[in-house]
């Protein structure tokens, strides 16, 4: 009952937050120099006053800002994200076309980094001070500090060009027309490099967090008690230490989950992954406001929802936490 009340309260807040984000984004975008009409005219390699005026009128840019904002809000509330200036396609359609690719990539990276990070962190803590520990922590530090795009380029250089093991870009083999399992295998093959690239940073974060948190818990009295009782070491690590040490990792995982939609622009660009991050970036460069606002909206909704789910899940991860904080 308490949970339900909490949920309703949070949902109302979420709606207000999302609306606030929409309004703020709309106004911020107006600050960028240049509007879609001038960009389109620039790209066309020609254009006279009439051309630009036609475009502005077509996009409704000749209206005052508050009128534009009001009609945008009305459209949003009725579920219409508008029309892309540039592509002449409904924004919702553009986003829905791209969203699965991004979710597949970021989702895979999420699972990859979470599992690998926790496993490596536990190993490092378990073998604290050993060569293995140093190796893992050095690796974690390197990937924590290296820019993503460099890792991506090097991965392509090594695994695609020199070793020829993995495809360097695209989401699937274009023109091959695979279906069924062949297609799944093909996509999985293409997924390896971008997933690893995108996931390495968070893997490093999880590794360091898990290890530090594990070491802290391992020094607590109840662990000593368990050890004194003669509980096997593996069991202590799994049941007693990890369970208590996972909270910071969980918190950080929720941060990563919040980036599921908007966090892969660079990776998508390097690997020609047809996802939403690139849609956003292109829209920004082309001042395609409806698309940009649409992507922001979807991103904001995902962040808000993930936060909500995280707060609910805290109860299960650590029952000591009260939900109604």
């Amino acid at each position: 009952m308490k949970t339900l009340e909490f949920l309703i309260q949070r949902l109302v807040k979420a709606v207000i937050v999302v609306l606030g984000v929409v309004i703020l984004n709309f106004l911020l975008i107006q600050l960028a120099p240049g509007d879609p009409a001038s960009v389109l005219a620039g790209e066309a390699g020609a254009g006279d006053e009439q051309f630009i005026a036609q475009l502005r009128a077509q996009f409704g840019l000749d209206q005052p800002v508050y009128v534009q904002l009001w009609s945008y809000l009305q459209n949003i509330l009725s579920g219409d994200l508008g029309y892309s200036y540039r592509n002449q396609v409904p924004v919702a359609q553009l986003i829905m076309e791209r969203l699965p690719a991004t979710l597949l990539l970021t989702g895979s990276a999420f699972i990859f980094s979470l599992i690998l990070g926790v496993v490596l962190g536990v190993l490092a803590a378990y073998k604290r001070g050993s060569f293995g520990d140093s190796l893992i922590m050095t690796g974690a530090l390197i990937f924590y500090a290296t820019p993503l795009f460099w890792v991506a380029l090097m991965a392509v250089l090594v695994f695609s060009i020199h070793l020829d093991l993995l495809p360097p870009f695209d989401m699937e083999t274009i023109g091959a027309n695979y279906t069924g399992w062949a297609r799944v295998v093909d996509i999985a093959h293409h997924l390896v490099l971008p997933t690893v690239t995108l996931g390495l940073f968070f893997t490093a974060v999880y590794t360091r967090l898990t290890r530090a948190s594990m070491l802290e818990v391992m020094n607590l009295d109840f662990v000593k008690t368990a050890r004194a009782k003669g509980v096997p070491k593996g069991r202590i690590i799994r049941r007693h230490v990890l369970r208590n040490a996972i909270l910071p990792v969980f918190t950080f995982a929720s941060v990563q989950a919040g980036q599921l939609v908007g966090g892969a622009v660079l990776t998508e660009t390097v690997f020609a992954w047809p996802g939403i991050g690139r849609l956003m970036f292109d829209a920004l460069m082309q001042r395609d406001y409806p698309v940009l606002l649409g992507v922001f909206l979807v991103t904001a909704i995902v962040v808000v929802l993930v936060n909500l789910v995280t707060d609910l899940l805290y109860r299960f991860v650590d029952p000591r936490i009260e939900t109604a904080r």
């Binding site: 120099p33 001038s38 066309a44 006053e49 051309f51 076309e97």
Partner: protein
């Protein structure tokens, strides 16, 4: 002055013969196969009538066709018109259309489509055609089902050069008539007369075209499928070619230093041909409304202080040629007899002293055009040379939207730009110098604010000349005055390199290069 020499007709038979001869001398073309290319950046639409960006023309050129095409020497070639005729007074242009042409949806292509395109669609949607049709054309009529006649108000010597794909793509009347052209849903399912049809466009991934089985040239096209891939990262595009994922790189697909490296790979061919119609010419655009650029001697001084050979050689990897005149040397009416600006710092300083400008009093905001690293380097070099002359200079970074806005609103000190020549000075060059074209709202007009009534007069005279020699004399004079005034700091003619794998044959055949319908292109099996 034999005016009858302007009568050009029935070239189609001749073109067919030359092709047969050329092919016979080489290998025998085979049919089939898939050609992989790159569309960079991803075009917003494939509807060429509404957007003339490079990638739109590249992909859209396989779907739509112009009335005419142009050879590497800019000679006129048939496309949807098989013959053309100009009256002796230069006022009546008659085009004879190809027979048996069908739109991709099966409807016949007729003279009504051409009239609709010229009189309605492009007049409303196409800035360059709108100017031509509103300024020069009196009427567009059809005396018989296979002929269309343009009657001009006054002669326009460049008229026959305005029918290329990017200036005059013929659009289907039955789809667009009576609709709002820009929002017509058919823009996403383009219907043209070209050798390939749109099968699928997976945004962010690829554009897939397939052979048009009912293409009007019998036995063509030879290739079954075209893929235009979207690969946003420049390094990945080079990798794609290296690994054989794509077979063709269009000029600009990869960075200059990659061009050099990829050209040396085994089984790879390159050419700088196929850009003659466009012949992009790069220049410094300085704002003549502001000091020090309102001072002619100061402009001349800066020209002498910039080593343009250095820019071409070291920043553009040799892919260019130092500009001599505002006209590209590949186009008609170019003359070498102009005022020249060899690199000479001593002379530059002397001219600057004469100009009365005190350089330390001026801070110049140098704004690179945001089209890639080479432009940034060019801007850095120009900034450095301005500082050598004693000016203060600072770089202003800006993205494409901001640049377009700043130049359109004349809010700049010094920036860079380039112009496509479109085969005739009246179409590509004059727009940057005519005082009547000092208009806000587009970055491709006379944004620098140049006003010279003599130049206006000469451009006007050349454009309305019926006789070619008369046009030539006027243009020669104009080039001399412009290079003396230097309203734009002419830098260099860009040379774009097309790179392709050996197996691709007959790829670059005309002056519009890879934008040409790839109907005769074939892949060795």
């Amino acid at each position: 002055m034999k005016k009858s020499s302007r009568l050009i007709a029935g070239l189609v038979g001749l073109a067919g013969l030359t092709f047969a001869a050329a092919a016979g001398a080489q290998e025998k073309p085979t049919s089939g196969g898939t050609l992989n290319m790159i569309a960079q950046p991803e075009p917003p639409t494939l509807m060429v009538g509404l957007n003339t960006q490079g990638p739109t023309l590249y992909v859209g050129g396989q779907i739509y066709q112009g009335l005419l095409s142009y050879g590497k020497d800019l000679s006129l070639q048939p496309s949807l018109a098989k013959a053309w005729e100009v009256s002796e007074d230069g006022l009546t242009y008659t085009f004879t259309l190809q027979e048996g042409v069908k739109w991709h949806d099966g409807k016949p292509f007729t003279v009504d489509d051409v009239i609709f395109t010229a009189d309605k669609f492009l007049r409303e949607a196409h800035p360059r055609w709108r100017y031509i049709v509103n300024t020069y054309v009196e009427s567009i009529t059809s005396p018989s089902p296979d002929k269309v006649v343009f009657k001009l108000k006054r002669p326009f010597s460049a008229f026959l050069y305005a029918f290329e794909l990017s200036s005059f793509p013929v659009v289907p009347k039955h789809i667009y008539d009576g609709t709002d052209y820009r929002t017509n849903p058919a823009n996403n399912t383009p219907i043209g007369t070209g050798p390939f049809k749109l099968k699928e466009w997976k945004r962010g991934s690829y554009i897939h075209l397939v052979k048009n089985e009912d293409y009007w040239k019998p036995g063509l096209p030879r290739i079954d499928e075209l893929y235009f891939r979207i690969i946003p990262d420049a390094a990945s595009r080079a990798v794609a070619f290296e690994k054989g994922t794509v077979d063709v790189l269009r000029g600009g697909d990869v960075e200059g230093f990659e061009v050099r490296r990829l050209s040396k790979l085994d089984g790879v061919q390159t050419t700088t041909d196929g850009w003659e119609m466009y012949s992009p010419l790069a220049f410094i655009e300085w704002n003549l409304r502001r000091p020090p650029f309102n001072n002619k001697l100061a402009r001349k001084a800066i020209m002498h202080a910039i080593d343009r050979d250095f820019i071409v050689r070291n920043i553009w990897f040799g892919l260019g040629k130092t500009a001599v005149s505002p006209f590209a040397s590949t186009t008609r009416f170019f003359t070498d007899d102009v005022v020249k600006y060899p690199f000479d710092m001593a002379k530059a300083k002397e001219l600057l002293a004469q100009s009365g400008i005190k350089p330390q009093e001026h801070t110049i905001r140098v704004m690179p055009i945001p089209y890639g690293a080479q432009w940034d380097r060019t801007a850095e070099y120009v900034k450095q040379q301005l500082e050598q002359l004693g000016f203060k200079a600072e770089l202003v970074s800006i993205d494409a939207g901001g640049w377009s806005k700043a130049v359109s609103d004349w809010d700049f000190d010094l920036t860079f730009n380039y112009t496509y020549q479109y085969g005739d000075p009246a179409l590509g060059v004059a727009r940057h110098y005519l005082s009547s074209n000092i208009i806000k709202g587009t970055p491709f007009a006379n944004n620098e604010g140049y006003e010279n009534p003599v130049v206006d007069e000469l451009f006007l005279k050349a454009a309305s000349a019926v006789d070619e020699a008369e046009a030539k004399a006027a243009y020669a004079e104009a080039q001399k005055i412009i290079t003396d005034d230097m309203p734009l700091g002419l830098l260099f003619e860009q040379r774009n390199v097309t790179i392709w794998r050996d197996k691709v044959k007959e790829l670059v055949r005309t002056g519009i290069g890879v934008n040409e319908s790839m109907d005769e292109t074939w892949i060795a099996q």
